[in-house]
Amino acid sequence: MSVRVQREPFDLGAELAALTEGNHAIGGLASFVGLVRDFSEDTQLSAMTLEHYPGMTEKMLERIEAEANQRWQLDASLIVHRYGRMEPGEGIVLVACASAHRQAALEACQFLIDWLKTKAPFWKVEEDDAGAGRWVDARESDDAAAARWGRADPDAAE
């Protein structure tokens, strides 16, 4: 189990290789990488910046990773989430789960990324070709994706 919040890019191949290295009980490794796109709805984007809440972010990521490890029998799990300015094509977030069984690895990976998109304290500014920044609004479809995990939600302020 490991969580990292960092400004630097991550090396996907190296991260995944390290996760399964030496553990021959692992039968499946599922991973998801979120990448910066060069568009948002109908606007061309040249970059985005993620702000986060240092301290709370790490605490929440560690907690949700622990929950995934309780729900599924995992041999290894990893969350790497970047903050700061990123350009199209760069990786923003990496989630990876390894298990003896493929279904556990795939489900835990899906669970973590759904959760990250809706609960982790990150806020995105999108920058258009003219260099103008715009705070992104939350999307309801992301809330719906997280809700299907049937998790009690004591997290909303309303």
Binding site: H81, F122, W123, D137
Partner: protein, 84 residues
């Protein structure tokens, strides 16, 4: 004194990322804090004008309107998250 943190566009409106504030006696819950803050100035009023868009964390835990706040707490105000 409580420590108030503002993120994303809330910070743009309040003009500060972080401040130490003495809470008045009538502010003992998250809801009371949200009701009081706009009286601190037009930037605060604007930041908090749509309560549906405000999330609060007390000591790095998501909080509800009825949850207590007091001296020594770290209280963060921010919009719905848009991460990853």
């Amino acid at each position: 004194m409580a420590r108030l943190l503002y993120f994303a566009w809330l910070k743009t409106h309040t003009g500060t990322a972080e401040e130490e504030v003495t809470l008045p006696g009538e502010v003992t819950t998250v809801g009371e804090l949200l009701a009081w803050l706009p009286s601190r100035g037009p930037g605060y009023a604007r930041a908090l004008e749509d309560p549906k868009l405000i999330r609060v964390a007390v000591n790095q835990e998501y909080a509800r309107p009825g949850d207590p706040v007091g001296p020594g707490d770290e209280i963060a105000l921010f919009p719905p998250v848009t991460g990853g």
